[in-house]
Symmetry: C2
Subunit: 289 residues, 2 copies
Amino acid sequence: MDRLKAGWFSELNDLWPGMCLSLQVDKVLHQEQSKYQDIMVLQTKNHGKALILDGIIQCTETDEFSYQEMISFLPLCSHPAPKKVLIVGGGDGGVAREVAKHPAVEEITQVEIDEGVLRVSREHLPFMGCGLEHPKLTLHVEDGFKFMAEHREQFDIIITDSSDPVGPAVSLFQKSYFSLMQQALRPGGIVCSQAGTVWASLDHVCQTFSHCHQVFPRTAYAITSVPTYPTGQIGFVLGSLNQETNFKEPLRIFSEEELDQMGLRYYSAEVHRAAFSLPRFAQQALSVR
Amino acid sequence: MDRLKAGWFSELNDLWPGMCLSLQVDKVLHQEQSKYQDIMVLQTKNHGKALILDGIIQCTETDEFSYQEMISFLPLCSHPAPKKVLIVGGGDGGVAREVAKHPAVEEITQVEIDEGVLRVSREHLPFMGCGLEHPKLTLHVEDGFKFMAEHREQFDIIITDSSDPVGPAVSLFQKSYFSLMQQALRPGGIVCSQAGTVWASLDHVCQTFSHCHQVFPRTAYAITSVPTYPTGQIGFVLGSLNQETNFKEPLRIFSEEELDQMGLRYYSAEVHRAAFSLPRFAQQALSVR
């Protein structure tokens, strides 16, 4: 963290060896060690406020919308009636903010293990923290595993908005986690999990995809662009209990006016379809699973 | 360039303010000041060899294929019979390597202004430099403006593989350049130019798109993912003299076997279509032009 002193935050991690993204920092707004992780909020020079967990950029104000919109609307628009939604993780509130926009959604349940992230986001990142205050949302500060084991067949959609598979989120990438999600879904339910990038960690993506594939009859991997994530993009693994689900063709297609009203800046039906068109090398690697 | 001493190369530029990508470096393989720019070749720790011009990463061995395949096959597969191709710039040879793979291409003419880039690529970057030796290729060390002014109505496709609009490539983003290209094309001809990223330089992308739009009856903007470029992606402006051209639907669709034979690792017909599906904010910005 030497560069922080020199006015830059640098993100180094073995998940993306030999490359490093740095953001110019005006001020450190907050730093604490919670029970689970190091939480830091930066005022950057050109990317607004940034949330950093254990030294890894989780979101910046200027580009978080692409991640939040895509992890939310890809599964929501692939389900014919996504009434009850569970969010695991997502403590910054960004996913709740987006999920609440979808007109079919009636109830949102969120389970975040780290009270610190909720508190810091509410205080320092109101553009995302606002999602935590939505009247449709019920928030639980608890372990997602435990919560799902106690809530069977209750949700139409489960979105796992986790940090990377180092630290507290490791267990959210295992097969046992996908099995728990399967049991917490109502018939025809759909899951969508953050699942790394094919450029820096293709093996890891394939492994997560394989775990999902062993549990769900329909699966897919989708990509979105997030400039302040390593390699500039991130992927999602999706699984459906409904054999008929065609993830590439959204069931709900919003008009431009509706997209405007919801304030969507990245997602559209066209972007939805394109997100599943993978580079050949990634398509081939995932096909053998 | 202090970090180079500490084992990292860092790319700082006003085109993407407040963010910086760094690559870990094992060795500086070459450095020279040519007549036009500073040319450097690095052996990186995890991204193979890298070509740097005036301090900006042009290509790394591990991800250059996505750029080279897309800037070549997007225009080639949008044309019914791309027999004669002109490449402006592209001194590393990567675009020539890809263009030569397309079975309809009969003659490739390349005009690169900097002899130094050609020499350095042949010596240090043979995985791209090999493209410069293809029997279909005729190479001219010359200014692209001058060359096109002297060669009217000769090409089916013109690909401009330039560096960013700082330094020697500035003129390749102006309206006068698009007009020259138009005059160098045969009827129904298509151009494809490197055109920056919508995340870091949306205004610049819109400006280049506007220049193209003023000259060509059909235009489009496409995106590809390149992890070692700023924001992790780059775009292309395409223009066609043929009113009927639908860039989103390739006219030539290769089978998986043909794609394998050509060694394509990124491009497919599906990826072609998806490349034109822009994030809403970019789609809206480009629509007003």
